[in-house]
């Protein structure tokens, strides 16, 4: 078995992660539910890759994500950082052993559980007491109303990422940065994050957490990082990654650098613009060297971008946009979970297994060592034999990576595409060969073709768990099919109306990402390196010497060079 350890650093990363694990949890639930669609009972998608089995002190078996999540203190809302699975009854200490004097207790009001969490809790209690499911008829009608309320409640006031999480986490998984509180304004720049890792015992403790999960792995295939690109967490991640590169030298790191919606909003003064641009440049150039493959995601205006043609939501809610990214990460992660089989034998339900290092080798290890990839997504993916006038599968894939050039002809492009749950003729889930043939045919017809494309296919679609936000437009049907005419009623449809969606994602290593890197290089030069640059002082404040800044520039211009050897930008560096 080839395990993947997931690491989530930062607020927005945890928002994404929470959705991600909800999908996994939903899949687990569907696989064990006798009434669910047989397409979800897929023995070839191994959830052990992402999950670990454990045992509580009482000897109860547990199954929890193999995850290290780092966030501010107080960011867990109503959830306890030790999770619920391993709770030891009453945790309140009967007496304080280090003190013999009088003790007075002050208790702050715990965060109130919202409707969704309350119902989860009640359900658990019910499961414990009555295992029999009689008088279900009556309950159902009540449940229905409750579900609606819950979805509404979540749509309106999600504050913490734990508010919509239905997963049980291991006590080692959730790490709160002691002393760094949520809403702390100061943690929004690179400088403050730089020391946060080394301060006190934090770095040591985070490493310890990671080691706990790695030690268990028989054969780790790689780390999957989701990092909050905006704010101090990116600096923290860079320090952490440097550490990992040192300690686990041969284990590849796949890094998603996600920027939240807040980072692009609000009109800014010139000073703030410089601040932001420099931050992005520094953050990117520091993260890239320590990972094997970096995938920047986070569009400034996701809701109006082409990637969300069939989606309907507001940009400013992290709860909403993170769902889109999470869905894409989930799909990109599917090939890692497939049971590896020989290349010739195709199983009925999956095809195209690949491990993390395989993916990285393919995308970043070719002749042109480009380690920056673009993530494209099609959500929901159109049916394979679409009617006339509808978009084809390839055409519907739209980037989630910002600053990507369109229609670039790149002969050396390499792609890895994952399609799952695609609908074929007659609204059935398409069989593997059908999908493969269609995709190949589409590539034949396409104007620009990549040098190489790896295709992974699974039959099971993306299940939509109850706490998923109502972000689907009114052209999306119950199984994610695209309808000809809009459904009457509300303009956005959520988990009650849409139960699953077909997905297609594509990671592509192409020179289309060039503008992204060039932007950052340009900004770094303009604001940080040139003589009299307005941001030079700022960089010094963040603790970077001139040499370090020059090194960063060098790193970026090398990346530009690999993609475009004739670049203007790189030739003037000396």
């Amino acid at each position: 078995m080839r395990e993947v350890v997931t690491v989530q650093l930062g607020g927005f990363a945890n928002f994404i992660g929470s959705h991600f694990w909800n999908f996994q949890d939903e899949l687990l639930g569907l696989a064990s539910d006798p009434e669910s669609d047989p397409v979800f009972k897929n023995p070839y998608l191994n959830t052990d890759v992402l999950y670990r089995t454990g045992e509580t002190q009482q000897g109860i078996l547990t199954y929890s994500p193999r995850l290290v999540s780092v966030d501010f203190q107080g960011s867990l809302g109503s959830m306890s950082s030790r999770g619920t699975m391993y709770s030891e009854g009453s945790s309140a200490p009967s007496d304080v052993l280090t003190w013999t004097g009088g003790v007075s207790t002050h208790v702050s009001e715990p965060h109130k559980k919202n409707l969704f969490l309350q119902s989860l809790y009640e359900e658990e209690q019910e499961n414990c007491t009555t295992m029999s499911g009689t008088n279900s008829g009556k309950n159902d009608s009540r449940r229905e109303i409750q579900d609606k309320d819950m979805v509404e409640c979540l749509d309106n006031d999600v504050q913490f990422w734990t508010d919509y999480s239905k997963v049980h986490y291991h006590p080692q998984s959730l790490y709160e940065l002691s002393g760094l509180w949520m809403d702390a304004q100061e943690f929004n720049n690179y400088g403050t994050g730089k020391d946060a890792f080394a301060e006190g015992f934090r770095g040591e403790e985070i490493r310890e957490r990671l080691r706990f999960f790695v030690e268990e792995c028989d054969h780790i295939q790689g780390f999957q990082f989701v990092v909050d690109d905006s704010g101090g967490f990116s600096a923290l991640a860079a320090e952490f990654l440097e550490n990992i590169a040192d300690e686990y030298t041969n284990t590849p790191v796949l890094l998603y650098a996600a920027s939240g919606p807040g980072s692009h909003m609000s009109v800014r003064s010139r000073k703030q613009t410089i601040f932001k641009e420099l931050h992005d440049a520094v953050s990117f150039s520091r993260l890239a060297p320590f990972s094997k493959l970096i995938v920047p995601v986070g569009l400034p205006f996701l809701s109006t971008s082409k990637a969300s043609t069939f989606l309907h939501f507001k940009d400013e809610k992290p709860y909403h946009c993170s769902a889109v990214y999470a869905a894409a990460f989930h799909s990109a992660c599917i090939p890692f979970q497939m049971e590896p089989v020989g290349p010739s034998a195709d199983l009925g339900d999956v095809s195209g297994a690949m491990d993390v290092s395989g993916l990285i080798q393919m995308l970043a290890g070719q002749a042109r060592q480009n380690m920056v990839s673009i993530l494209d997504v099609s959500m929901p993916a159109p049916a394979l034999n679409g009617k006339q006038g509808e978009q084809s599968l390839l055409g519907s894939l739209q980037p989630l990576t910002p600053d990507v050039a369109k229609d670039v002809e790149d002969l050396q492009a390499v792609e890895s595409m994952t399609v799952h749950g695609a609908l074929g003729s007659g609204g059935h889930y398409a069989l593997i060969p059908e999908v493969k043939d269609t995709v190949h045919a589409m590539y034949e017809q396409a104007r620009t073709r990549p040098m190489f494309c790896h295709l992974s296919v699974a039959r099971s679609p993306l299940p939509i768990p109850l706490p998923f936000p109502s972000i689907f437009g009114n052209l999306v049907g119950q199984r994610g099919e695209l309808l000809g005419s809009p459904v009457s009623g509300s303009s956005s449809r959520g988990s009650l109306d849409v139960h699953s969606v077909p997905m297609a994602v594509r990671l592509r290593s192409s020179s289309a990402v060039l503008p992204y890197i060039e932007n950052r290089l340009g900004n770094l030069r303009r604001f940080g390196i040139e003589r009299g640059a307005p941001g030079a002082e700022l960089l010094r404040n963040w603790g970077f010497g001139k040499d370090e800044v020059d090194d960063m520039g060098e790193t970026l211009s090398k990346m530009v060079m690999t993609l475009d050897p004739h670049s203007q930008m790189s030739s003037d560096s000396d």
Binding site: E55, T98, N250, P252, A345, S357
Partner: protein, 503 residues
């Protein structure tokens, strides 16, 4: 003023207002740390902690008291500059006095355990209740002595502090050896073994496809058999390494009932574990890097980076290796080692808070013992030093100083008394009575400290109350520096007002 131009609403305090702000901030420090002056003082306390590991509270209250004493004189119209000069003189004099006053301790090859215990007890008792403090005292002293080698710098990292969460047990003990927070990952390996050879290594025993072929295997092979053959060949390299280890085990363990333990920093995959288990070897994977260094110190032998240089000489030795399992948490104890130059303090507690408190106290205790070993001196505690230093400053130093700087010396001398005052206050005694009693004893030439229970003067030497020399020196050094800086302030700019809103 340039700042006014930038931010017309910035509040610029003039000199005297700024000074008063500093003083008030320093006095009110215990309430809240949020204003810049307080932060400056807090930083000094952190520096104190970094350097000597103790005396943070003393630093803070000492600076606060210096400011408070200064206020009296400044209100009477004295210039802060003069006070600062006085502080400087007093500081130097106090440091000289400290040199005379300290009690030298000869360490040599066999340090005086009693003195070390007394110092450790003094620090620990200020942080924990008596019974627990006394128990920890022995642990801390033995722990440091375990890693102490004369003529070499002490590295306290060689004393590992581990904790275990257990529901009822409150127990802290010193393990002369190591405790690792993981166990073997094979069901057939022994849970307990005596007389063990320990192999410490950093060798990958994991079949790693990535290293052997560059691109996903699927693209290369025309048929499954060919692929299988390739995989088998690659696997052999790993098996070869495992075989070498087993060979060594057979060499050292044949004919006796010794055991063999492999502790590896890198991973060991299930097939390798299987081979090792069949050969009767206990294997642990992914050991912490720090533990690798400590294993060698504790068990002897050397850490190997390759199996090519395996010799019996490179093996360490431990009398007992056993596993302890709580739920899914496993601990491996490596005990009865040959030459323990590294040890582990194992803290058991029912909840995180208790563990954290004990941990902090243990760290401070370790630092106190380390300081004593390095200083080769201790200072009488319970406020004795402060009172004596005050007498010295007032009776001798003050006379040698010309002019108004005398007042600075006096302020400094009075500020020193804050230590016994705080001690008295914390035990609910009347501070005036205590100070007078102490002063008069000192006038009679007896060096006494404060008995917290009765409020009477006691002889700290008899009671075994000793403080670290370096801690005291650091306090005397850094306190006046910060106080002087705060006193010679020119102006303070209070930011944080809304800049956009016009008044």
């Amino acid at each position: 003023m340039s700042l006014r131009v930038l931010n017309p609403n910035a509040e610029v305090l003039n000199k005297s207002a700024a000074l008063h702000m500093n003083i008030n901030a320093a006095k009110g420090l215990q309430d809240q740390i949020q204003n810049p002056t307080a932060i400056m003082i807090a930083r000094t306390a952190i520096a104190q902690d970094d350097i000597s590991g103790d005396g943070t509270t003393s630093t803070v209250i000492f600076i606060g008291e210096l400011m408070k004493q200064s206020e009296r004189y400044i209100d009477e119209g004295m210039h802060p500059r003069v006070l600062v000069d006085g502080f400087e003189i007093a500081k130097r004099a106090t440091l000289q006095f400290l040199e005379k006053f300290k009690t030298p301790v000869v360490m040599g090859n066999e340090p005086d355990k009693e003195i070390l215990k007394m110092v450790a007890r003094t620090t620990l008792r200020t942080k924990l209740y008596e019974a627990l403090a006394d128990q920890l005292t022995d642990i801390v002293v033995n722990g440091v002595l375990c890693i102490w080698k004369p003529e070499e710098a002490l590295d306290l990292f060689m004393v590992e502090i581990m904790h275990m969460r257990q529901k009822f047990d409150v127990d802290t003990r010193l393990v002369e050896g190591l405790v690792l927070d993981h166990g073997s990952r094979h069901p057939d390996m022994k849970r307990r073994a005596e007389n063990c050879h320990i192999l410490t290594c950093n060798v990958s025993l994991e079949y790693d496809k990535r290293l052997y072929n560059e691109i996903n295997a699927g693209f290369f092979y025309s048929n499954a058999e060919q692929r299988e053959a390739m995989v088998a060949a690659e696997r052999q390299q790993v098996d070869e390494r495992v075989r070498k280890i087993i060979e060594l085990k057979n060499k050292v363990c044949s004919g006796n009932d010794n055991n063999f333990v492999v502790i590896n920093q890198k991973g060991i995959d299930p097939p390798s574990l299987d081979l090792l288990a069949r050969a009767g070897i206990i294997a642990l994977r992914r050991a912490k890097r720090r533990n690798m260094e400590r294993l060698v110190l504790a068990c002897g032998g050397e850490a190997l980076n390759s199996v090519d240089d395996l010799t019996p000489d490179s093996l360490g030795w431990a009398g007992l290796v056993y596993e302890h399992i709580i739920g899914e948490e496993k601990y491996t104890f490596v005990e009865n080692v040959k030459n323990p130059h590294s040890c582990t303090i194992l803290i058991k507690g029912p909840n995180d808070h208790t563990i954290a408190q004990i941990k902090d106290a243990v760290r401070d205790g370790l630092r106190a013992v380390k300081n004593t070993l390095e200083d080769e001196a201790v200072v009488l505690g319970a406020g004795a030093f402060e009172v004596a230093a005050r007498q010295y400053l007032v009776n001798e130093v003050k006379k040698t100083v010309q002019g108004r700087a005398q007042l600075g010396v006096e302020a400094f001398a009075d500020a020193l008394l804050v230590v016994p005052k705080t001690l008295a206050e914390n035990s609910g005694l009347d501070t005036q009575d205590v100070i007078i009693a102490l002063k008069s004893e000192h006038d009679r030439g007896n060096i006494v400290g404060l008995n917290q229970h009765s409020g009477d003067p006691i002889d700290p030497q008899m009671e075994g109350i000793f403080d670290n020399y370096s801690v005291k020196r650091q306090i005397i050094n850094s306190g006046p520096v910060i106080a002087s800086q705060l006193l010679s302030v020119d102006e303070v700019i209070r930011a944080g007002r809304n800049m956009r809103k016009p008044n």
